[in-house]
């Protein structure tokens, strides 16, 4: 195995070196530009509207992965019930903006409340569970996700149970009166978001804002405290980090982002039902984070796009064999994850410092590192151990 990967590495080395010289900001700008231009392909008639829908869902999963990455990648806590927070956001929105209770709250108020409710859920589940570590935490969060889903199914009066809530109103970015007063102004129709392209840009803006806020946070005192807890909890608390508080903050924040994504999802899909919040969805978000690279913001964005868009592409390509493909979808996911864990456990676009402990080290690489460290110390007479 080492021989094969070693050969692949030596062949790709110059290419990788060339890419490494390009500053990361350039990639972010290119990615953003691509995301912004993508819907225009539909306008110009290059791709079908179905692809815009794939785009919106991919962006929603990007947001979910960014949220899960806070607890999994930054703080090192495994959460297998993450989709429950997504459900909290989605149902809050559905109840406040649908014929169910004859309500139509303003968009911003609905999104804010959905986020806050998901955060409260995060706090409530975090309170008893954050004492647990590793596998135990994973099992309890898994159970939490299932409890939320089953509660939704059984809370008929509020949620319509398995039938779900239908007819969710499209978001209005300004009040009804304000939109009416604009009359026939060409852009006034943009204030009511109801076409796929409008949803796409709305979600894109939200995702970009979340990504920027989170990358600021990553390189701050708070983000470093999370990383320290992930690396060595004992050393972190001895360095003055209050573990319970920092972990709670990361759980609540990630829950809030899921709630935010849930609100956008409910608006977009128009109909929500418990089927959208299965355990499998939590697993898929975990896979997105792992595939992209835990702790790496560009990584999880890529992971979410690949795992959300790829199956859709294959489904389209499969044509008549579509239902056949559905059967094998999870199997393909499994294979992808196994292959990743063997060949590239740090993810597709890993955080620059992330070392994968399970990686086999190429002795030549190690010698090179050692040599470069030794060069740094030239002029110092004493030896390093």
């Amino acid at each position: 195995m080492t021989a094969i990967t070693g050969r692949i590495r030596s062949v790709t080395a110059p290419v990788r070196a060339a890419f490494a010289r390009v500053p990361r900001g350039v990639y972010s700008a290119l990615g953003l530009a691509a995301a912004a231009i993508f819907p225009l392909l539909n306008v110009w008639g290059v791709v079908e509207t179905a692809w815009l829908r794939v785009g919106v869902l991919s962006l929603l999963f990007v947001m979910l992965s960014l949220g899960l990455n806070i607890v999994m990648g930054e703080t090192g806590l495994l959460n297998l019930g993450y989709i429950a927070f997504f459900a909290f956001g989605a149902y809050t929105t559905a109840l406040l903006s649908s014929p169910k209770f004859e309500l139509r709250w303003p968009f911003l108020a609905v999104v804010a409340l959905s986020t806050v409710i998901a955060m409260i859920a995060g706090f409530v589940i975090g309170l008893p569970t954050l004492r647990l570590r590793g596998d135990y935490l994973a099992i309890v969060t898994l159970a939490f996700g299932e409890i939320v889903r089953l509660t939704i199914i059984n809370l008929q009066d509020f949620t319509n149970g398995p039938n779900g809530i239908t007819g969710i109103y499209p978001p209005r970015l300004a009040s009804e009166g304000a939109i009416a007063s604009l009359g026939d102004a060409a852009w006034a129709k943009w204030l009511t978001v109801d076409k796929p392209i409008e949803y796409y840009y709305l979600v894109l803006v939200c995702v970009v804002v979340v990504a920027i806020l989170l990358s600021n946070l990553k390189n701050s005192r708070v983000g470093r405290a999370w990383n320290a807890l992930r690396e060595d909890e004992l050393a972190a608390v001895s360095t003055g980090i209050t573990a319970a508080r920092a972990k709670m903050l990361s759980v609540v924040l990630s829950a809030g982002i899921a709630g935010f994504a849930g609100a956008l999802y409910a608006y977009y899909s128009n109909v929500i039902s418990p089927e959208s919040f299965l355990f499998m969805q939590s697993v898929i978000v975990v896979c997105m984070v792992v595939l992209g690279g835990m702790g790496s913001i560009p990584g999880v964005i890529l992971g979410a796009i690949v795992l959300q868009a790829l199956p859709q592409m294959i489904r389209e390509a499969a044509g008549a064999a579509r239902s056949e493909f559905e059967v094998y979808r999870m199997l393909i996911f499994g294979v992808i994850i196994v292959v990743m864990v063997i060949f590239r456990p740090e993810g597709l676009l890993p955080d620059k410092l992330w070392r994968s402990e399970s990686h086999e080290v190429d002795p030549r690489e190690l010698e090179k590192t050692r040599q470069s460290l030794f060069d740094l110390e030239e002029g110092e007479k004493d030896l390093e151990v």
């Binding site: 806020l213 989170l214 600021n216 946070l217 701050s220 005192r221 708070v222 983000g223 470093r224 405290a225 990383n227 320290a228 690396e231 060595d232 004992l234 050393a235 972190a236 608390v237 001895s238 360095t239 003055g240 980090i241 209050t242 573990a243 903050l249 924040l253 410092l353 992330w354 070392r355 590192t369 460290l373 740094l376 110390e377 002029g379 110092e380 004493d382 030896l383 390093e384 151990v385």
Partner: protein, 262 residues
Amino acid sequence: MTATLELQGVSMSFGGLKAVDNLSFAVNENEIVSIIGPNGSGKTTTFNVISGLYEPDSGEILLKGESVAGLRPDQVHDKGISRTFQSLRLFSNMSVLENVLVGMHAVTDAGVLSSMLRLPSVRREEKAMREKAQEILGMFPGRFSGPRQQQPAYSLSYANRRRLEIARALASDPTLLMLDEPVAGMNPMESREVMEQIKVLRDRGHTILMIEHDMHVVEGVSDRVIAMDHGVKIAEGSYHDVANDPQVVEAYLGKRAAEATA
């Protein structure tokens, strides 16, 4: 004058084993005190009790007259006690610089919202932190210069990891610095260098409590030495008094050796 650190009759047992038994001692300001003793004599347990990792069964621990016994480790750190670990505990996947910045966590206060928005106050604080980190890393000339600060901590040599742990502990300007075997595993050259650095720290006004097995280092830097055996303090005083104490010799070398020196 109140001592910087004072232990009064501290005891700590694990089941039937009394790891620390009625231990009392004091560390005065700007003093270097070393704790010596054979393996299993309760030195590291003493450190863990002081730094809040264990709660003492009985006794009082005072930092500048204020009790810190029974507080959580992060609270003890907030009061001004900073430590290193015998078995290195760096944040391996974080850079050298980040390790030191984490050390400043308790003395900085950027919150989650202001950090997300990168408010001017956060930027100022971050800049000040980075400058201070440079100053602290600069105390180890040539060890953490330039590109090496961006390298992950796991890539460092063993000796540099120990240095980085000291740097991280210093980052919060602690009232008391506790070093658990700072030269363990180092070669004689490196031990001597660390020894000089510890002296520099005292000259800068730090108060240090240290566990060390290397007697050259203990002799070289200690103002006072405390010897422990089976959780009990068996001797205290200058290095020479303690090193020639029959009980200490017995603890290390056995009864016959103690009789021979007596």
